[in-house]
Symmetry: C2
């Protein structure tokens, strides 16, 4: 899929080329996770065209439940500008954010959120709910899904297929 | 207020005395935040009667949007048992959790969550919504509010009253 699906009425000034270029950077982060056998999810934070935060999923290696890609990217971005307010910033993430990460985006006041694949089990930026455009919170972000959706989704489905095959192989070896 | 209000059908094995004793520990953490002029919010994580994680709000000092009390307590607890799954653990926090912290509780599979004061502006454990007992996520926690509610709430209201008075004083001094 080339373009994206905007979930609310705000608009973005980014072109399709810019969105895809930045999502490729988030995909690079996802591949770093994959390389160490973590679920391949990656995120970046962009401010004024510059990447100021990067993160990849690190839950198993760190044994920290909060070690999601977006959290690292947001923390690094806050540190880069020495400010907890990431107003004007864009966040790109390969998978639709969970409640924790959506919450971190609200708290850091990220201006725009772009994601690749939808998460039917836990996505809270349009699928199960949309925390990012809930007017009861004190910040609303522009949300757009479907940026390089196929690439982002394939990374995950290939990872889980490989994992299942490895488990099957192991089970068969134990039988022999 | 002595007791608490249970928001779902699960029950807890903790006595009122235990809940209050642990909430006093969370209040200690909130006071650490207050001592460095942070909004006084504190949290602890308990496993098998032992405190394995502590945290206090540290947003302004760190300029990190994610530096909430609950996040520190959860991270420290995961580290203490070298496991991202905090099953069987209880979390005590002086203020109703925001979406990020509620999300972190779901991800870490905390068994029971006890909080003091409600947060009418951003509380997602019963007030604006209840993420912790939303059956679409892969974990549901027992939630109980109102543990030492008055003490937890006073800490916050006194802090903000003092802040307003200091601002007023400064404004008057600038006029003179």
């Amino acid at each position: 899929m080339k373009g994206g699906n905007c979930l609310n009425r705000k608009t973005t000034s980014l072109t399709i080329e810019e969105k895809e270029r930045f999502m490729l950077e988030a995909i690079k982060e996802a591949k770093k996770a994959e390389a160490i056998k973590e679920v391949p999810i990656g995120a970046i934070v962009v401010l004024d065209g510059q990447i100021i935060g990067r993160g990849s999923n690190f839950r198993e290696e760190s044994q920290d439940a909060t070690a999601h890609a977006e959290m690292f990217a947001i923390k690094q971005a806050c540190k880069a500008i020495d400010n907890w307010r990431l107003e004007r910033a864009q966040l790109f993430v390969t998978l639709e954010p969970c409640p924790m990460c959506s919450g971190a985006m609200i708290l850091s006041r990220v201006d725009e959120v772009f994601y690749g694949a939808k998460d039917p089990k836990g996505g809270t930026a349009g699928t199960l709910m949309n925390l990012l455009e809930d007017e009861r919170f004190n910040h609303i972000a522009y949300v757009e899904s479907g940026i390089l959706e196929e690439e982002c989704g394939s990374l995950l489905s290939n990872f889980f297929r490989k994992l299942r095959n490895e488990k099957k192989l192991l089970k068969n070896q134990q039988k022999d």
